[in-house]
């Protein structure tokens, strides 16, 4: 009975996501007919202005909002289960920042190989991978949840200062684009980049299928997971690769988006009240996409008055979630 309830609820979330995606595609100053949208994909006419808008602006923006929300939320859930810490997430523990550092280095290098789509994705994923690895090393020394959080925040600040030094040394134009990128933005992806991003994303999702069983066992603690026959070394490697691909991929194109990876899995756990990662992963992806679509819809609708950066909106709801978790855990400890 419970399972059926989960399935229905998940289905409703999916339906809501589809509806909101259409709303998002239609939001903007120019109204675009369905025939234009269809033609933009299958018989593209460069002279038709609304087709160009749909193909080059609308579709990539909606697409990356969906992928970014899902990817960051999944990365957050993986980190939370693995570190056994509800406060873990790619942005707060510095993985996004690590990814930013490598993107900054590759952009400032000026070499065409590094500034290509492939080069930036690779740099971002490598950066995220190295920082996840660092966290893994640190986490074996600290026991407390809050200690790991503080280490992550320090790691982020340390890296940010390096990024600022690189910025100080770069020219005005590069500085401007990097600063805008750092605010978090869903507008910097074009149509041609969407497909490679999607393929990388789906490869990581493929790997994720083999992580569900280990993740469910990690709920019992790494020690017990090993006793139940889980190969913890292999799981660690796969998990870090997944986190790095999801975080790096999104950070490379949208900048370090704050709090989504931290907040969404906690909201999902509150809604589903289960530890089964089949549900948690699917629901995190759906809720993450939904949330980022809603944030971007707010930005789109206020665009004529004010240009809001994405991170200002995500932090607006994300930061209270962190405080709420800390309060809840403290009350739990007191009782």
């Amino acid at each position: 009975m419970k399972v059926r309830l989960y399935k229905r609820f998940t289905f409703c979330l999916g339906l809501l996501l589809v509806i909101l995606s259409f709303v998002h595609l239609q939001s903007g100053e120019v109204a675009i007919s369905y025939s234009d949208a269809w033609n933009a994909l299958f018989s593209f006419d460069e002279q038709n202005q609304s087709q160009v808008i749909f193909r080059e602006l609308r579709l990539p923006r909606t697409g990356i909002a969906l992928l970014a929300g899902a990817g960051l939320s999944i990365a957050g859930l993986l980190m939370q289960t693995f570190f056994n810490n509800p406060l873990a997430g790619p942005s707060i523990l510095g993985v996004s920042t690590g990814s930013s550092l490598f993107v900054a280095i590759s952009l400032m290098s000026g070499l065409t190989l590094f500034t290509s789509t492939f080069g930036i994705i690779t740099a971002a994923v490598i950066g995220a991978f190295i920082y996840s690895l660092l966290l893994l090393v640190f986490s074996s020394f600290v026991r407390s949840n809050v200690s790991l959080l503080i280490i992550g925040i320090m790691l982020g600040s340390f890296t940010n200062s390096i990024i600022q030094m690189i910025q100080a040394a770069s020219d005005v134009n590069a500085l401007k684009s990097f600063t805008i990128w750092g605010f978090g933005s869903l507008q910097q992806v074009n149509y041609n980049q969407l497909l490679p991003i999607f393929i990388c994303f789906m490869l990581a999702v493929g790997m994720l299928l083999f992580l569900v069983k280990p993740l469910n066992s990690y709920v019992l603690g790494e020690d017990r997971a090993a006793q139940l026959g889980i190969n913890t070394k292999r799981v660690k490697t796969m998990l870090i690769i997944c986190v790095a691909v999801f975080t790096g991929l999104i950070t490379a194109y949208c900048g370090p988006i704050a709090f989504v990876g931290l907040a969404v899995p906690n909201i999902v756990k509150l809604l589903y009240k289960t530890c089964n990662h089949w549900y948690l992963l699917i629901a995190s992806a759906l809720v993450g996409s939904l949330l980022l679509l809603i944030c971007d819809l707010i930005i789109l609708n206020l665009e004529s008055y004010i240009q809001l950066p994405l991170n200002s909106i995500t932090s607006l709801f994300g930061a209270p979630v962190v405080i709420w978790i800390l309060l809840k855990n403290n009350m739990h400890a007191k009782n």
Binding site: F210, V212, K213, L220, G229
Partner: protein, 238 residues
């Protein structure tokens, strides 16, 4: 089923020395020794986490260190002293996780797995708890549920690290009786460590005594030793 001969156990330095031990199914063994003498290290060695320094440990005629992790997870289980509960995890889900060694790469549970979980739930009388979250249980219930998960894992060798350390008198007896019953009914080989000497003497089939000076593990029948002799062997400086 478990055979240890001329084996030295420890992390880096030798903590324990085993001359000759042979443990059989259907018997309950209680491990007794001073704090820090190496009881937990001994149990951790038996699940293959810590390699033996010298010698070998044979489980069903085969060295436990030659089993793959997956094979070993179907042979040995270890219940830790405390289970604090896991948020959003119901007792039913918690017990089902004990079937992980038997599921495929995606962790799909089959009808048989659910049957086994229900069987254990009935065996330990956990029906009224199965829908509760593990964080909502009392300390005694948590320990019972942790033992139930080991039973769901269906290993013949079951190790328990001080299963009654934090329980009141009534819960202690309930847990110990349950362990005893399951050991006999399912022909398990159960070893648990304890500091509760009276209870150990009463419930155990055999005692595994650790002398802190010679660092040797001695096996004696529970009916053939008095409390004084036991104290003299395990706590000689008393």
């Amino acid at each position: 089923m478990l055979k240890i001969e001329q084996t030295e156990i420890g992390h880096k330095s030798v903590l324990l020395h085993v001359n000759s031990l042979q443990l059989n199914p259907g018997s309950l063994y209680v491990l007794i020794g001073r704090n820090g003498v190496g009881k937990s290290t001994f149990l951790n060695t038996l699940i293959g986490r810590i390699p033996a320094l010298v010698g070998d440990i044979l489980l069903q005629e085969k060295s436990i260190f030659s089993y793959s992790k997956k094979e070993l997870s179907k042979k040995v289980s270890l219940v830790r002293a405390t289970f604090t509960g896991i948020e959003n995890l119901s007792v039913n889900e918690y017990l089902t996780l004990g079937r992980i060694p038997y599921t495929n790469v995606f962790g799909t549970t089959h009808e048989q797995d659910i049957l086994i979980v229900n069987e254990v739930i009935h065996l330990l009388g956990l029906q009224h708890l199965s829908e509760k979250f593990t964080t909502q249980l009392s300390d005694g219930e948590k320990q019972l549920v942790a033992i139930a998960q080991a039973l769901v894992q269906q290993t013949q060798l079951v190790l328990l690290d001080e299963p009654t350390a934090f329980l009141d008198y009534e819960n202690k007896w309930n847990i110990l009786k349950t362990i005893k019953r399951c050991t006999q009914d399912n022909q398990l080989c159960t070893i648990f460590s304890s500091h509760d000497l009276e209870m150990a003497l009463e419930i155990a089939d055999y005692l595994l005594l650790i002398n802190p000076f010679t660092k040797e593990i001695k096996q004696v029948k529970a009916t053939e030793i008095t409390k004084q002799e036991l104290l003299a062997y395990c706590f000689p400086s008393l």
